[in-house]
Symmetry: C2
Subunit: 208 residues, 2 copies
């Protein structure tokens, strides 16, 4: 069996084990057994528990970033369709890989090197969203200096909201809302507001 | 000097040191010196570096929850005003206490017991927001079963967005937007959307 296939099996088993038991309690014996390989082979390929966990984190990070990039790729579509398609891809991915979501959430609490990977992922996804929102603002004829600043804030807000919703959906799995519903909730939450923002309408504390 | 005053000085110094240097690098000598007390007194009052850090985390958690509770207390006001007042209180607080924000963000990455405190805080704040949104939905005559489910999602989205914006504003301090601007950005982002959601208007992928 080629090395990359074996390695993928090890990572699959490791993601499941780290998600289920946490970093400390996951056992290298169980991971090797679940992957159908010997423990020395796991150490030969992935060196240590630390490096195995890091490899899991990096794989889940790359898979999630690729999903968002893929989902927002339709460059000819209007910005709201691209955002919709990106959100739906994001929530479909996170609903299909609950263990991956849990590993990324555990990575954030597992100390600096792992947390850094998750922060860097967040920055990459925020940047994709920021560019998309900036294009929407430009299309709507927004003043570009104002738009740039607000659009950066909106991108951070949207990514924080999506992350929070993905973790929430993960804890309510089964009885929880579907990926499509979750994406629609977030889209409803933000799009109309964003749309009026683009048009220069503002919510004010007294003006309603 | 009464014990609680001394303890507050120690916690002030510790929050600043943990925020600036991180948990590992912050030194108990520097914390004692900054607090104007001897190192043995820090250990007498707060026992260990672990417990000192936990005391910092708990203090910042309670201060932030109290701020949100206080900010949303105007029970007679319409829900959007309460939400506005809560968001503004939240961002005023986080802008005034950047070290507190950093400590809470470090706590999430510092291992389970600290991360748990932050997750529990998030759950408490989400609950305050959820009750507020549910009241807004009820006032707008929303079907209550549908509303309950969507409102829980919206509360998670809003809290995730606020958290993400507070951290972003913290990293862009000085040149960044003011607390009021940040609150208005988030309010604009969500309120119009929420409003149409309440009125039964929905964003759909094709229907725009």
């Amino acid at each position: 069996m080629p090395r990359e296939v074996r390695e993928r099996q090890m990572l699959d088993a490791a993601v499941a084990a780290f998600a289920r038991h946490g970093y400390q309690s996951a056992s290298m014996d169980d991971i090797a057994e679940a992957a159908g390989v010997s423990k020395p082979l796991v150490y030969l390929y992935l060196k240590s528990k630390e490096e195995l966990f890091m490899a899991c984190v990096r794989r889940e990070v790359e898979a999630l970033v690729a999903t968002v990039r893929e989902g927002t790729r339709e460059l000819e579509a209007p910005a709201d369709r691209q955002l919709w398609s990106g959100l739906r891809a994001f929530f479909t991915h996170t609903a299909a890989r609950p263990d991956g979501v849990t590993v990324l959430s555990r990575a954030r609490t597992q100390g600096e090197p792992y947390a850094q990977e998750v922060f860097a992922m967040r920055a990459r996804i925020t940047d994709i969203v920021r560019v998309l929102l900036a294009r929407a603002a430009q299309d709507a004829g927004c003043d570009s200096a104002l738009a740039e600043r607000e659009v950066a804030g909106l991108a951070h807000a949207l990514v924080g909201a999506a992350e929070s919703l993905a973790e929430w959906a993960n804890t309510t799995a089964g009885e929880g809302p579907s990926a499509k519903e979750t994406a629609a909730t977030l889209m409803n939450f933000c799009w109309t507001g964003l749309d009026s923002l683009m048009r220069g309408e503002r919510w004010t504390p007294s003006g309603r």
